[in-house]
Symmetry: C2
Subunit: 236 residues, 2 copies
């Protein structure tokens, strides 16, 4: 039995880099830090999900949520990626899963350099490679759907009518484990060439943020229903 000091951390602080998560350039912008990845995944709620259909790439925007080391995406059982994930391709016979690339991007700023060449964008992104598989376990499906609703508006799942059996049957949930994951980050100002410093062009960063507006009630909302607390801070 190994000494306690020599037992490997069962939850390493980083995702192991792989051939496809190590960039060919700007390596200093890549990160495999688990906490950073979790934070970035939890701050956004729309991802771009890529998969291969008939040999060609398809990229679709969709909601997602993270529960521990697994991401969930949901959709109609009739939608193409969900159908593909459930049977390992629409023509396959068994649940082999669907190779996917799930990418989450947050834009933080426009970087204006003195040279056109060094113009850039400040951003945080996370890229997850893996095989997405349909979730069949009912408890996990329900928890995943709640997580997706709560991911967009924390506290909302408990303050809405839960899915009934018919709705659950019409919804496919796919899971993607966080195993082959990297973040990429660009922050700071322009990286101008030293010989360009004196050029008479404005240079700096224009910050970009995503904001929530004041919630707009539906026309048929009963006037007695108050704006819930979890929405009160959003339209500030």
């Amino acid at each position: 039995m190994p000494d306690a000091d020599t037992v490997a951390d069962p939850r390493p602080t980083g995702y192991p880099p792989t051939a496809r998560t190590v960039p060919t350039r700007s390596k200093e912008r890549a990160s495999y830090d688990r906490e950073l990845v979790h934070r970035l995944l939890d701050e956004a709620y729309v991802c771009h999900l890529g998969f291969v259909r008939d040999g060609a790439p398809v990229v679709l925007p969709t909601l997602y949520a993270r529960v521990g080391e697994r991401l969930y995406v949901h959709g109609s059982t009739g939608s193409r990626p969900l159908r593909a994930a459930s049977v390992g391709g629409e023509d396959a016979q068994q649940d082999a899963g669907l190779p996917v690339c799930l990418t989450v991007t947050r834009i933080d700023g426009l970087v204006l350099a003195r040279s056109a060449f060094h113009h850039s964008i400040n951003y945080h992104s996370v890229v997850v490679h893996g095989v997405a598989r349909q979730v069949h376990d009912e408890a996990e499906r329900r928890a995943a759907l709640d997580a997706i609703v709560d991911h967009v508006v924390p506290g909302r799942a408990a303050d809405s009518r839960p899915a009934n059996d018919k709705e659950l049957a019409a919804t496919a949930v796919i899971g993607l484990d966080l195993e082959e994951v990297s973040a990429k980050i660009r922050t700071g100002g322009p990286n101008d060439e030293p010989e360009d410093i004196g050029l008479p062009y404005w240079t700096g960063v224009v910050p970009v943020t995503q904001r929530y507006g004041t919630p707009v009630p539906a026309d048929d909302l009963d006037a007695a229903v108050q704006l819930p607390g979890y929405l009160k801070g959003m339209g500030a």
Copy 2:
């Protein structure tokens, strides 16, 4: 010679739908309108570019610009997708191009229904399928790079140092023609079930917008350089 009245419009108002641009569901949310697609592509500046590498999908965020009926993406000549597009796959011998899916998404609002099932997102997205090819013509390359800079900040290309030969040589530009294109749009309030209307849950839409902050000059900017006019409206 055909009569002028019978000549087909050389620029039809819509992109012809194909098997992969007609959705399997929510068909009413799809649009093939050329002006709408152009407007959505021109309003955003970051896309998610999907391609296939070693049989698996890869999705990366990147800048783009539209010039007429062609989109341009640029990058280091050493970056994977650019290298792949230039030779039709890293292992191929000739410039066959790279099958890609280029997706642009704008989030407009969070849709909170009374039922968890009918929660949704208001959004506009454009999906472009096609084969991206490296641009070799120097004039087209320069125009594409200017278009990308001007796409992010209109007017900026002329107010920065143009790329020199070394920078041009280090930059790959790939073009993607707008041929197989669709937009998808969700607007409006929640689509609650009639029997849910009386439930005591707040329902409506939380608007989402992207905002620009006040431009932050670089530390080494000469104090004599004024904020250019094209940036003055951005941080309002």
